[in-house]
Amino acid sequence: MKIAGPEALEREQIEAAQRDPRQFGVLYENNLRAVFSYVARRLPSRQEAEDVTAEVFHQALAGLQTFCWEGRPFVAWLLGIAAHLIAKRWQQIGRSTVVAEEIDVEGHGLDAERQAMYAQLVERLPEDQRRVIERRFVYQQSIREIAQELGRSEGAVKQLQFRALENLRNQVRRPS
């Protein structure tokens, strides 16, 4: 019997990766955005968010054989690992009180979808605007650094940033 639907597909992907760990790449690609978005919203720096996200996937791959399908999406398991690592991180830097939180898988699924949509919209921006957005938000460069790199004035880069965000806002508002 062939079961259709995203749940069944994900279950097949998990089972394939449990048989052959080299198949883990699909699960990684499908869930990276959701995990990073979840982690980055809870840690102070992008570098820390990348470190913890990397650790989540390394631990998930190492412990994949212990994963049991219970009808919940795979991302819930990953976010559970992430929550544990974030709590440890906060404790390491001296915050002894860590508030336990219920993981809202559906909410983070929506976050991931929204991030994916933004990524697509950024790709469609004119090249100079796209470069400014990527450098400013993904690589977190200052306006001065971007201006030097692109050979523009700081004022021009601020204008490009402004126009790019306006473009994106208009795209988001436009009905599909």
Binding site: R22, R46, D51
Partner: protein, 359 residues
């Protein structure tokens, strides 16, 4: 009007990038919308991070797969030897009636045994043939050598390493300051809470060399977050020996021995082999260059790390019109078999020419 708005927006973005929570601080709806959008864009994954982590997971998956194969091969070999042993007496299931002898079953059983034996032999051969590959993967994890040195023509002297025979690799953190002598080696997990002679942990090296500081001691190259002093021995942090930080020997930092900082970047030649390209996605033309029919060669100076990834990319010969960026973008995705010295993968600096031609 737009200039003022662009300035105000940038101020809000600066606050967001400095770690501030998104809070609507303006009554201007347009500015509020744009700031909210900017707040969301902070959580976009960078392509470099996605590719790098993907490659790391690929390596980890390959290692796990090899382990699974070797366990399976060992198990199958055990089953096969057990059933072929002369004294082997099959368990008696007396409550079950004896099955009638069937030639088809006999043939199937014989074929299965042949298949299992063939599996054992081929997996054994596979393990022998891929021994170097497997060793390379493990070595590359331990031999990452990018502490803080600039490329040199010869190996940097010094280095150090440590650990306290933990099962887990050393955790990520910063190394302590350098001093002329070491009274206390650095540690992530303090084993002796009440030492007789309390002293600040140090590494042996020139005190003029300043290292980045943080409250969390550890190996700067590690990716492990759980606390561990590492798999090495003799105190200190890492996989090496004798009170330092990293994979070397002695009270210094990094590969090598005897204190100071070890493991610089090599040049090809003089016992250092050239790295070999394994994966080489082609660069794309920039729109500007395509329109202007601009072509030529971009030359990049690149460090190929012991894990086969390109790092520290610099443009030596620029073409402009966005082609430099395209060349860097493509080469960043390339993967190499690293250079070797004395049988170990090492970081080397090479020049890579990226040709842009329109036909």
């Amino acid at each position: 009007m737009n200039t003022v708005l662009a300035q105000q927006l940038d101020e809000q973005i600066n606050a967001l990038l400095a770690g501030a929570e998104y809070q609507p601080r303006t009554t201007d709806v347009r500015l509020r919308d744009l700031t909210q959008l900017a707040a969301e864009l902070r959580f976009e994954v960078s392509a470099e991070f996605r590719d790098q982590l993907g490659a790391e997971l690929q390596q980890q998956a390959a290692r796990i797969w090899v382990e699974q194969l070797s366990h399976k091969a060992g198990f199958e070999r055990g089953v096969s030897l057990w059933s072929e042993h002369e004294d082997f007496e099959p368990p008696q299931f007396k409550s079950l009636p004896a099955a009638p002898l069937d030639c088809t079953h006999l043939a199937v059983s014989f074929s299965l045994h042949v298949a299992v034996m063939a599996g054992v032999l081929t997996s054994g051969l596979w393990m022998v043939e891929h021994r170097d590959q497997m060793r390379g993967q493990i070595v590359s994890m331990l031999a990452d050598s990018h502490y803080i040195l600039a490329p040199t023509r010869s190996e940097a002297h010094g280095g150090g390493g440590g650990g306290d025979r933990d099962k887990v690799q050393a955790s990520k953190g910063t190394a302590p300051r350098f001093a002329e002598e070491q009274l206390t080696p650095p540690t992530v997990i303090v084993r002796d809470e009440d030492p007789k002679l309390p002293a600040d942990p140090t590494l042996v090296g020139s005190p003029e060399v300043l290292l980045p500081e943080s409250s969390q001691a550890g190996d700067p190259l590690s990716k492990i977050l759980s606390l561990s002093n590492g798999t090495g021995s003799g105190g200190g942090i890492g996989s090496g020996q004798s009170g330092g930080v990293g994979s070397g020997r002695g009270p210094g930092l990094g590969e090598g021995s005897g204190g100071g900082i070890g493991a610089g970047v090599f040049h090809v030649g003089g016992g250092v082999s050239a790295p070999r390209v394994l994966y080489e996605p082609e660069p794309e033309f920039s729109e500007e260059a395509r329109k202007a029919k601009h072509q030529g060669i971009v030359v990049l100076a690149v460090v190929i790390a012991p894990d086969g990834r390109p790092r520290d990319l610099r443009v030596i010969n620029s073409l402009g019109m966005g082609l430099d960026e395209k060349a860097v973008e493509a080469v960043r995705k390339w993967r190499f078999e690293p250079a070797h010295k004395d049988g170990r993968p090492v970081a080397v600096q090479v020049q890579i020419e990226v040709a842009f031609r329109l036909y």
